[in-house]
Each structure stands twice: as C-alpha cells, then as structure tokens.
C-alpha cells in the first residue's frame, strides 16, 4: 500500500515541479527559442539587470510588498489577539469576513476594490489608481492571512503563562510585552513572511487596482507573456521563484522556533 502511495506521491511532486524546472533551465539556455539546450549562459540575467524599466518595476514591487506587509502584520496581529481573547457579539461575523479574502476569487476582490476607489474618487476626488491603491488592496487580503496564522499560534499558547505573569505583578501591557509577544513572535514573523510573498506574487488584484506608472513585476510579466515568452522573463521568473522559496524557508524556520 505504502509503495503505491509513494509512487503516486512522487508522480504528483514531479508534476508540480516540472514546469518550474523547465523555466529555470531555459533561463540559462543560450538560444532564445525552443527547448533544445544549446548552451549555458548568464546573458539573460545580465540583460535583466541592465534593463532600467525592470529595475523600476522591481522597486515598485518591493515598496508595495514592504509597506503592505508592515501594516497588515500589525493590524492582523492585533486582530488575532482580540479575536482569541475576547468574546463579543459580532465575533462570528468578523471571523467569516476574515475568510472572505481567502476564499473569494481574485477577480471579484479586484473589481470590488476598483469600484470602491472609483466611488470614493467621485466623492472626494482622490485616490487615483497608483502604488498607493495597490498597497491598500494588498493589505486587505494580507490581513486575513496574517490574522489566521497568528491566531493559530495564539491558540497554542498556554493561557496559564499569562496568568502567572499577572500573579507576579505584571500589568496587562507588560504581560503582553514580556510574555505574550515573545511567545507568538514566531507566528507573527511567519505571518509577515507569508504576507510578503503573497504581495510579491499577486497579479489579479494588482491588475485591477494599478494605475499607469505603477507597474509591478507580476504585471510586467503578464503583459510580456501575452506577447510571447522570452528568456528574460524566464530569468526574472527564476529569480522570483528563488526569492519566494527563500522567504518560505525563513518562515518555516520561524514557525518551528520554540514551537
């Protein structure tokens, strides 16, 4: 039985990784077209780095990711704390509201935000679609993920630890700072890393909430690919995949810490 399971599992893993590996391989391929490997080269990477526009897109992407991650991590952590510690009337409603960004198709999220910005702009003349709106959009789904991760971590926390702190004279704030926060920090960090990679990779929501001049890398990849794949895109993709994996590994290590 186990052997069949194993066979099946590894077939699935092969399926999951094959396309990515093809791209990585082709990013080093000397020839521009086709799949025959004609030679190993870093050319495409070099071209990538000397492309000014791409550097601009990279900067945009990073700005969006960093800012949105910071905000969503803070908001999400607080929200998780509140949800776990308190009982109140609309608790369930809030919980389900939280699940919406996770389950809903990106398109719906994207256009709902587009509509929101449009309505607000009609009313007060601001904001225009730009990096700012992208950031606002990203935070909106990142919050959900961060909250879920931190909440999971919080529920593992032994409540008697906080009681002990209070018994020894710590005020609520001190209890939080000295006991609660350090203990959930791994969860907070991995939530933040999760949010970060979600922002880096987001396409659909960004597509609807970006304005001219606020292109991010995923948007660039999309318009590029519509014209046809190219090795530079492969190179860019390989780098992005690499970074994502790195961020993921870091996140896992943090989650594992004092788990």
């Amino acid at each position: 039985m186990r052997r069949w399971l194993s066979f099946h599992a590894w077939l699935v893993f092969a399926f999951l990784y094959l396309p990515i590996l093809v791209i990585v391989a082709l990013s080093f391929n000397q020839s521009r077209f086709g799949v025959r490997f004609t030679g190993f080269t870093f050319d495409w990477y070099i071209r990538l780095f000397s492309n000014e526009r791409i550097l601009e897109y990279l900067t945009n992407t990073l700005i969006v990711a960093v800012v949105s991650t910071l905000v969503s991590t803070v908001l999400g952590t607080l929200l998780a704390l509140g949800l776990v510690r308190y009982r109140f009337r609309w608790q369930n409603a809030l919980r389900y509201l939280l699940y919406v960004p996770v389950v809903v198709p990106d398109v719906v999220m994207g256009i709902s935000l587009l509509l929101l910005f449009d309505v607000v702009r009609d009313a007060i003349g601001w904001p225009r679609l730009s990096l700012f709106t992208i950031i606002l959009a990203h935070i909106s789904f990142q919050i959900a993920y961060v909250t879920l991760v931190v909440r999971a971590r919080l529920m593992l926390l032994d409540p008697t630890l906080e009681e002990a702190a209070k018994d020894l004279g710590a005020t609520p704030w001190l209890t939080f700072r000295e006991v609660t926060l350090p203990l959930i920090m791994p969860g907070v960090v991995s939530g933040a890393l999760l949010a970060f990679s979600l922002s880096l990779d987001d396409f659909v929501v960004t597509f609807f909430t970006a304005g001219p001049g606020s292109t991010t890398l995923p948007l660039y990849i999309y318009s590029s690919v519509k014209l046809g794949v190219s090795p530079e895109i492969h190179a860019l993709s390989t780098l992005m995949v690499g970074i994502t994996i790195l961020v993921l590994l870091l996140g896992t290590l943090f989650w594992r810490k004092r788990s």
Partner: protein, 287 residues
C-alpha cells in the same frame, strides 16, 4: 490576556486590538462588496460607467442570454472537473505526507508551488505546451508531427489542476494529520476488511478537510481568468474572463458587477454551508 478592571477598560482594549483590523476589513472587504452589489443593479452609461436606472436587468441578462449561460456552464464544468481531479490527486498525497518520517520537509515541498507566483506557474505551461515547447520537443524527437496543444481547453484543465492542487492539499493535510488510527484497528477488530474499514473509520475523519479543500479550490477555479486568458486563447471564455472584459474593453461595469456578485454569492453560500456543517473552522495554514 488583558483582564481589565472595568467594563470600559475592557472595551477600550478590545477596540484597540480588534478595532483597526476590523475597520480595515469592513472598509476594504465588506463595503466594496456592498458597492458591487449596488453597482450590479445599475445600468450602463455611455462611457460604460454606472448610472441609474436600478433594476435586476443585469442578472436577468446574465442568466437568460445563452451566450452567458454557456460561459457560466463552462466555468462550472471546468471548475468542477478540475476540482474532482485535484481531489483524486491530492487525497493520497496528503496521506503519504502525513505518514512519512519527513512530513515537514514533504509538506514544504507541497507548499512551495503554492507560494510561487501564480503567473509564472501558469505561463510555465505555455512553455510546456507550445508549438516549440517541451512536449512537442519530445514528440518531434520521435519523428512525430507536433501537436497543437495550445490554445486549448485541455491546457486550461491541466493548468487549473496544477495551480490549485496545493490549495487542496493543505487543509486536507490538517485533517489527515489528526486522524485517530485506533479507530481503524477497532474496525478491523469488529470484522471489517481493509477497504471497508478505511471507508468506515478513516474517511469520515477526513471529511471536514475535504470540504474545506473543495471550497478553497472550486470557487477560485471557477472564477479564474488568467489561466483561460493565457492558455485558452479566445476559445475558452470563463466567468472570470467575462468579468475582466466588462471592466476592460467591453466597458460595462454594471454587468461586470453583476457577474461578480454571482461569484461572490457562491463564496458566501460555500462559507455558510461550511459553517453549518462544521462549526469551528480550522483553516490553519500549516506553514
């Protein structure tokens, strides 16, 4: 965590923690949905923007015009079969990982594609399926004529399964990891043969995970537009594409909103069903 002295203090603390996050969610999730709802009831202005009169005409059009019904049908069909296939692929995988000595490493292996840029994962299939792509490269190496795999519905299926498979495995894995195997032994002890015993004692324990996984796959799969856009050419139009067009070239925001609301309604229905049958939802991302 914070045992406040007075009810006011408690309220203050509560607002401090939940307030900002809840406020954000209301402002950027709830309200836009409501706006979308209202928009769906409006009509198209000369430039495609939203004008009165209000009415259900968009919905009527959506559900009666055969063109759109076909699109809905195709989206549901592709979404459904992709999900079924994902479940078939993912169910054994979850067990394999949960029972392995290296389960954390394997889980990571499953999760990595989940976090990789969605676009990259989709366009990778272009590379695989295109005329000068991987598959054709292999086929022509055997002297056979190249196959026209792109654009096609088949490619859309493959890419959909590929893209959403990790979404299914994660919640299912959470359920599988918690399985009480002593129930299987009890079933054996009481005379059930292996397959029967699995069905009676183990499978029911995975149902919550299956349900969650199904929701997390089916709904996004139905609403996706990128996959059909990149791999289906003009041939495959799904609801997602339809919506995107309404906000793009077709310039009919009202209608697009209506279509979106339909998808949103599916989401809410799914969540409600899940809440009804499962109670506490454990959508813990095991990163």
């Amino acid at each position: 965590m914070r045992e406040a002295a007075t009810p006011w203090e408690r309220l203050r603390q509560m607002l401090l923690t939940i307030g900002p996050g809840a406020f954000w969610l209301v402002l950027f999730v709830l309200i836009p949905t409501l706006i979308m709802l209202v928009a769906s009831l409006m009509s198209r202005g000369s430039l495609g923007q939203l004008v009165p009169p209000f009415g259900l005409h968009n919905y009527l059009r959506f559900f009666s015009d055969p063109l759109f019904v076909e699109i809905i049908g195709r989206s549901l069909w592709i979404g459904f079969w992709s999900t079924v296939f994902i479940m078939l692929l993912g169910y054994p995988l979850a067990f394999y990982v949960a029972q392995s000595r290296y389960k954390e490493a394997l889980l990571l292996l499953v999760v990595i594609p989940f976090f990789t840029n969605f676009l990259i994962r989709v366009y990778a299939w272009i590379v695989v399926f295109q005329k000068e792509g991987l598959i054709n490269g292999l086929i022509t190496a055997f002297g056979l004529p190249p196959a026209e795999l792109l654009p096609s519905t088949f490619a859309v299926y493959v890419a959909t399964v590929y893209t959403y498979l990790p979404f299914f495995v994660l919640p299912l894995y959470a359920a599988v990891e918690r399985i009480d195997w002593s129930q299987l032994e009890a079933a054996y002890d009481l005379g059930a043969r292996p397959i029967r015993a699995f069905w009676e004692a183990i499978f029911p324990q995975t149902v919550p995970g299956l349900f969650a996984g199904f929701l997390l796959v089916f709904i996004p799969a139905v609403g996706t537009f990128v996959i059909a856009d990149l791999l289906g050419g003009g041939k495959v139009t799904l609801v997602g594409n339809l919506i995107q067009l309404q906000f793009g070239s077709a310039q009919n925001w009202a209608f697009g909103s209506a279509a979106s609301m339909v998808l949103m309604a599916m989401v809410l229905l799914g969540l409600w069903l899940y809440a009804r049958t499962q109670g506490e939802k454990g959508l813990d991302k095991l990163v």
